[in-house]
């Protein structure tokens, strides 16, 4: 079977190069594309969802080339972007029924719309115009619009940015349920906890390339190295030095930490996923090399 998502040397420049040859293949499950603001996540998702043409490279969804056969690819994926795509003048239900009919669901459109409104906790708001919806409700309706058919691949571009914590949890639950039901998901996020909470696999986009790719544990290991940390009474880090844990290296690190006040203590720390994220996505110089 074809991989759900195949990205081959995709590049795109606006005023500056945004994507400089992105390669990524994803078979199934939830993939989190993690990157700082402006890293190019939305650009990549837009290319994969036929909204933007890349300058170079190829991409396939379920084996269908998004550049050669965009219409074919559109039958296989659904996307919920950062900004909602709803018709403000229509009610929530009318939006879903219309999109359902455009997908060719025919008579099923209404039944499916009602089921999704129920699932997204929008049943009572379904007959109100979208113009009256809150941000969280719009996001949920937009997600519902992407679930009308059974997309082989679902793209979610920063699905929880700007949501309150309760709405955020709901979206997380929805993504987990979808993944459990076998939908392949590519979601983008700026936050590590979201990637860690939802994804089987995390790819980090930085400087226009995928700089790291793997499970949370693999990414943590990839950053490697332990650090000798000088910390105060509260455990807060004052200074640190890299070490590989050997006696010689520890001595060197201790010397690097230099003279310390009375109340400071020394601890040996293993990298956390947070460290990996900071190093890989934001490029803390000493570890990003």
């Amino acid at each position: 079977m074809d991989a759900a998502i195949e990205i081959d040397d995709i590049s795109k420049s606006y005023a500056h190069p945004v994507l400089r040859g992105v390669d990524l293949t994803h078979e199934a499950g939830v993939l989190a594309l993690l990157g700082a603001n402006g890293a190019g996540k939305t650009t990549l998702v837009s290319i994969l969802t036929t909204l933007v043409r890349p300058d170079g490279g190829r991409a396939r969804i379920g084996g269908v080339d998004v550049l050669r056969d965009p219409a074919g690819a559109r039958r296989l994926f659904a996307v919920t972007g950062q900004e909602t795509t709803l018709d403000e003048l229509l009610t929530g239900r009318e939006n879903l029924v219309m999109i359902g009919r455009l997908l060719g669901l025919g008579r099923d459109a209404g039944r499916r719309a009602d089921a999704l409104l129920e699932q997204m906790d929008l049943a009572s708001a379904g007959r109100r115009r979208v113009a009256t919806y809150s941000g969280g409700m719009r996001r949920r309706l937009d997600l519902a619009a992407s679930l009308l058919s059974r997309p082989a691949v679902l793209f979610l571009d920063e699905p929880t940015t700007g949501l309150d914590p309760v709405s955020r949890r709901r979206v997380w639950d929805d993504v987990r349920a979808l993944a459990a039901a076998g939908t392949t998901v590519l979601l983008t996020t700026q936050t590590l906890d979201e990637a860690e909470a939802l994804a089987d696999r995390i790819a980090i986009l930085r400087d226009g390339r995928i700089v790291a790719d793997g499970t949370a544990a693999e990414l943590t290991a990839a950053v490697g190295g332990q650090r000798l940390v000088l910390q105060d009474a509260t455990g807060a880090e004052v200074r640190s030095a890299d070490t590989d844990g050997t006696a010689a290296s520890l001595t060197r690190a201790l010397a690097q930490l230099g003279p310390a006040d009375q109340d400071l203590t020394v601890a040996l720390r293993s990298p956390t996923l947070d460290d990996a994220f900071l190093a890989l996505a934001h490029g803390t110089p000493e570890v990003a090399a």
Binding site: L86, R101, A181
Partner: protein, 260 residues
Amino acid sequence: MTALDAPRVRGTGPLRSGTVLIGRSLRHSLRDGEGLVMAVALPVMMLLLFTYVFGGAILDDGYIDFVVPGVILTCAGFGASSVAVAVNRDLHLGAMRRFRTLPIRSWTVLVGHVAASVLRNLLATAIVIAVALALGFRPTAGPGRWALVVILVALWILAITALFAGIGMIAGSPEAASGYGFVLLFLPYLSSAFVPTETMPSWLRPVAEHQPMGPLVDALRALLIGGADVQLLPPILWSLGITAAAGVLVTQVLRRSQDR
């Protein structure tokens, strides 16, 4: 989990998706109560104003017969300009992003807006004609000539609607898009719609007689109340020409925005 019993995407042809999208745009029209009232109230008020206030000063009697074609066209143009706002709203408020990821042709979204606008404006035009008849408008046209009137008016509405769909695609915001509609409120005054062109200064007359609404007003007047040869070709060519030019503009802009 509901994802499992979800139906598969079957996709739709342009005919079916066009029907769905025309339904959407008509629903917009019905929702926009104020817009609908304006589309009918404005020409009716114009009719009253021209018949009772200016009428006596411009032509002694029968002015209503003279002025109805101009009012019809003003009404049609004004109503059609709202399509610019609808198209612009789709582009700038996100709906177009969704449509472009669905297995439909994105131009069918525009077809939906244009078709709904033509239907809406034909309805408004019918109401205006009914009011004119009640006020004493006495056309001499038989059924055949009325049919030609309907065709000429429909083609003009189509042309203006297509043009404003294009304006909606290039305007920076829905507010800006709606602003352009006012041009169409003034175009009729620069034609024989409300005053005979013989009363205009000689440098203005060629403009008034050859801008697209000039030949159209003349043809409608000749069809409705007679008195002159009916020249059908110029207004038809104008309408089709404007529609074609607008169609090219719309497809170009659509393609370019997709190729970003």
